[in-house]
Amino acid sequence: MRHAIRALGWAANIFWIILLFFTVTAVYSAFQLKPEFGDPNTSTLDSTMTVSLPFSLANGGFYDVSNLNLTTLVKDSHGFPISDSSTLVRLVTHGSNVSVIHNMSISISRMAAENLSYMLFNDSSFVVDIALDLNYANAVPFRISTNSTMPWGAPLSNLTLGAISVAPFNATHFRTIVPISFENHSYFTLDGTVQLELVDNMNNLLGSGKALLSPSVPPQSSYGYSSQVFVSDPTNIRAVRLYFDTSVFSYGPVVIPVV
């Protein structure tokens, strides 16, 4: 029995030493992991806005990092999910660096179609939940998560209907000048058309016109246009309905009462 006791004692001591060595080197190596986020770039293609986030990880430790997964969940200020994206790096060996671009795609046409249409007209901010999952030393799964905010500028901010002027045109119709204006606070250029419809208090169509977003409305700029609409009875105009048809989104009707 003395031999068994001695063997158990030696085994326990050796395993304690190995575990202590692993713990010290693992903690030291964890502090040699240097994650870095670069400055995000924004681009728009068709109706999708893409935020590209450069991410790099320098693994100066003794152990490999495997299954590195960066996930982001973009939500509006009320917590409604807008988009989720993930970028996977299978292996970051010890002593190496890895750089990837994490792309977050936000479908603006989807925003216009769903409960997020208020974001077309109101500046707001996105809440971005960021999570970094990784497997450290092939033994310890880790997750580091945080959240951040990303400002959102509305493409149709301060949409305003100016005073409608009326002038006789011919024996049956009047020419109305309908001024509309807005500010493009977003990251993308707006081009396309705005369809106007003048309606009475029963929503009957009195007349329609079109305004061109010409040549385009660049980011952080204002737009103003006076569209002419021919109507037979201008005294019955109670509201203006606007339909936006741009290369990025289509939305309407926006109903603005006429005072």
């Binding site: 006791i5 158990l8 033994a139 997750r143 580091i144 945080t146």
Partner: protein, 150 residues
């Protein structure tokens, strides 16, 4: 008795240096990076050191008796419970505030915790065998010595 007390004191001081002074110095250096993280583990380290030193000194003071082995067995069992409690069952979750940002760190240390427990079980098995060996040797001493028959 006096040599036992002296030995227990020396052992206790050595354990204090290697289990408390050196790790506390390390933690104080590392806590510059994340004070909240290492502050909580500093408290756990104090509890761990008190438990280990108590059982080491008690075991040394009662060496040569069955109580030495009882204290070793108790130390192994309490350390197993301590590891499970300290590592919250192997799933560790921490909330840190770094430069105004709330960061949550989650780690699955179950494999590490199981390894700790298995190594501690080896120590427990050794202490149990030592106790059994001690009792069997004591029983053998109490048996009458067989006399040769003429």
């Amino acid at each position: 008795m006096l040599p036992r007390i002296a030995k227990a004191t020396v052992k206790g001081l050595l354990y204090l240096i290697f289990l408390f002074v050196l790790p506390t110095f390390l933690i104080s250096q590392l806590s510059q990076f994340a004070p909240e993280l290492f502050a909580s583990y500093g408290r756990l380290l104090n509890v761990f050191v008190v438990v280990v030193i108590f059982f080491v000194v008690a075991s040394e003071l009662t060496s040569g008796t069955i109580f030495q082995h009882a204290f070793n067995i108790g130390k192994a069992i309490i350390l197993i419970i301590f590891f499970v409690v300290a590592l919250t069952g192997g799933i560790v979750s921490l909330n840190l505030n770094l430069e105004g940002m709330q960061i949550n760190i989650w780690a699955d240390l179950r494999i590490y915790m199981v390894t700790l427990i298995l190594i501690d079980l080896l120590g427990l098995a050794k202490s149990v065998l030592q106790a059994v060996n001690f009792l069997s040797e004591k029983a053998e001493k109490q048996l009458p010595t067989p006399q040769p028959t003429e």
